[in-house]
Symmetry: C2
Subunit: 430 residues, 2 copies
């Protein structure tokens, strides 16, 4: 029997919304949002969406009207009662009431601020301006919307069985990865793939496949909505935007040099245990660790998100040793463009020497490479970053010059202040 | 929204029936049934199900109670009004009222006769006795039930995502075949895969995938229920049971030698055009054609269902030439254990020399080879054949001694009567 009411209700939708919930976002965005709400509530920022893949002409593929409808839909969202209950009542990283009442009261009333959209050639210029703790919540939905609308443009041309076989192939591809990962003893792996996913439903499928296929080896998802619906751990700690904005706000070079540590000092006050994860690469991993205060060596671990992961993990191990810490007690989370072979290699090299964990992103939730003609569904490198704070430009260097962002003169200044020399160029896949 | 009524209704089913309709069978069974109903209504037969694959211990895999429930369910079926309307009102092979009123009136009231089931070691002995035109209707449902119950036994052990990936892999596998077949110019191909299918739903999926993927190259399905539901051509002509039973009824060697031609003489009276297809291999293709009356050379074509298909098609071409017929006007339907590479090879060799067509069976609707551990879902060779008629044993020789059936002394007699010499042994895959 067809449920007539459901069918008629579905026909009433003007669009098929890509993002349907404010917590269909990464857990670390909510943690950082609360931190900013508490520590930097007055900061005004501009976030910009950047398509690093100039060969993907987003403005040709995606209709501007459709894009606006999707973005407008996100602006219409507010936190539901059940979502609020989950955030207030759930245990995150073993802690109750991770989100404080004043933050939740504000978040329950929050709507995403306006966006600015313009076409520039074959690309869109999409920017968000306003209070940092509001604007930053645009990052994940904006990326997910652009990525999925591009996918929909391709899927729109396909017939029914072509579509079914496309997803059959994608499922098979993911499952074969899961079957390989299952062979790794003591594997710990989480889903970090929200931002550049193929779609929400696909991410949800991937996560459930990991639950069945990997059991305890799967440690959770960064996606709060999926974590809530599937009763999984919500995972994630912090990101580059914190040191980027703190650094932009620095009035002089001495303050700038201290800024990345000031960020973590604030974080240290707020969080403990597995949330004390160092993200060292914003202005170069080696310099960051060398100049780090001793209390940072006491943190639980490090996340490696750019550059040569082997080299950076070795640098971290040497650093812990030099500070009298036992690396085997430390957690190393790899999260940069991972796929199975790379995880096998890294696990083999570091397991036993440190506690190894993986944050598997785009190649978990959007590996449609090779599945359609012209590879028109392959994921590409789309980011949404803080561009300025209180009118001052932000800079990111990372351990890969391909990922650097900011005005050239400011990049030069940051390289000088943080003593960053020659860096190895690495292709950015996703 | 969950449709509560549907959910509750589904819970009320005592079993999940494998065969839910009397026309979930091959079209040629209905054509032959009508012919027998008209020409041999008094003939009593025994049909036996034979598992040629002794390494598949059906009685260990399939619960006897479940098997009985499925067989009993088929006995509870009768022709629905819509099915009767389709048979009476539809055009088959360009002809209206293919099924005559007297036949339809009988068929509308018909229920399948009783079955006899016994366990013998690791196999079941399943036999059907009664009037030929009733018993013969057991063949397809009995085979489909055994094959699917064996599959269900394997699927029962699998978890949710394993199952989804299994079907994803099967879909991908079929689609890759369709994509290869699409490359063949002037391809004509039909689904002949009902009897040893994985399941009804899977066959229905495969047929629809062929419709989308092959367009006009897909000429129809032998499954009447799917033909009706999907608005496709129902295809098929006649099978070995006609010459087998006619031959068993022959009182002496001279009558026996004429029997296979008597069958086709009756068929000639009833059918024209593309239904006039010779099935020459029951007692050896070469002898059959050599001794055939001239009017048979005027038939539309030939179906090649055993032996070396290249050799048999060449024999047919030579035969037509020797009888003054133009082979390029003749239809050759290949239907023996086909898969894509074989069809590519045969099409390449014979296209242009004759009209080539394929009846694709088990490797269309049940190619689960290589998809689960131990190949526990691979199709195997299960047949349900006339064993005796009016108390006299039937014999089948075919062009492959591996497919021969009947008592040894009778096989020897038939070989003598039909001048069948040494035959090439060929592995029977499905």
């Amino acid at each position: 029997m067809v449920d007539i009411a459901t069918r008629v209700y579905n026909h009433k939708w003007k669009i098929d919304p890509i993002v349907r919930s404010l917590i269909d976002t990464d857990f670390y965005k909510l943690l950082m949002c609360q931190s900013i709400f508490r520590n930097k509530p007055e900061t005004q920022v501009t976030f910009t969406l950047v398509n690093r893949a100039s060969d993907v002409p987003l403005a040709k593929l995606i209709d501007e009207g459709e894009l606006r409808e999707q973005l407008d839909h996100v602006r219409s969202l507010s936190l539901s009662r059940g979502e609020s209950t989950w955030m207030r009542g759930n245990t995150f990283y073993g802690k109750r009431q991770m989100f404080r009442s004043d933050f939740m009261e504000w978040f329950e009333k929050m709507r995403l601020p306006p966006y600015s959209l313009e076409r520039r050639g074959d690309q869109y210029e999409l920017t968000f301006e306003g209070a940092w703790h509001e604007v930053m919540l645009w990052e994940i939905p904006a990326l997910a919307i652009l990525m999925e609308l591009r996918g929909r443009a391709v899927l729109h041309q396909m017939r029914k069985f072509e579509l079914q076989v496309l997803y059959a192939r994608a499922m098979t591809k993911l499952w074969e990865k899961v079957e390989r990962l299952r062979q790794i003893d003591n594997l710990k792996i989480a889903d970090f793939g929200t931002r550049r996913r193929h779609s929400y439903l696909w991410q949800d499928w991937c996560v459930q496949a990991m639950v069945e296929g990997l059991g305890d080896k799967f440690t959770g998802t960064s996606n709060c909505l999926i974590a809530m619906k599937r009763d999984l751990e919500a995972v994630g700690t912090n990101a580059h935007e914190l040191p980027m904005v703190y650094s932009a706000l620095a009035e002089d070079d001495a303050t700038l040099a201290r800024a990345p540590y000031d960020v973590l000092a604030d974080w240290h006050d707020e969080h403990s245990g597995n949330l004390r994860m160092i993200l060292p690469d914003t202005y170069g991993t080696e310099g960051f660790l060398k100049n780090a205060p001793d209390w940072l060596a006491g943190w639980t671990g490090i996340r490696i998100d750019s550059g040569d992961p082997v080299r950076n993990a070795e640098v971290a191990i040497d650093w812990w040793k030099s500070r009298g810490e036992d690396p085997t007690e430390k957690l190393v989370i790899f999260s940069d463009g991972l796929d199975v072979a790379e995880m096998e290699r890294l696990h083999k090299r570091f397991s036993g020497r440190v506690k190894v964990s993986f944050g598997w992103g785009t190649l978990l939730t959007n590996d449609f490479r090779g599945l359609v003609a012209g590879d028109a569904l392959a994921p590409f490198s789309l980011v949404c970053k803080a561009q300025s704070a209180n009118g001052r430009p932000t800079v990111k260097l990372s351990d890969n010059p391909e990922k650097a962002m900011g005005p050239a003169d400011e990049i030069a200044r940051y390289k000088r202040v943080f003593s960053v020399g020659e860096q190895e160029r690495r292709e950015v896949v996703v």
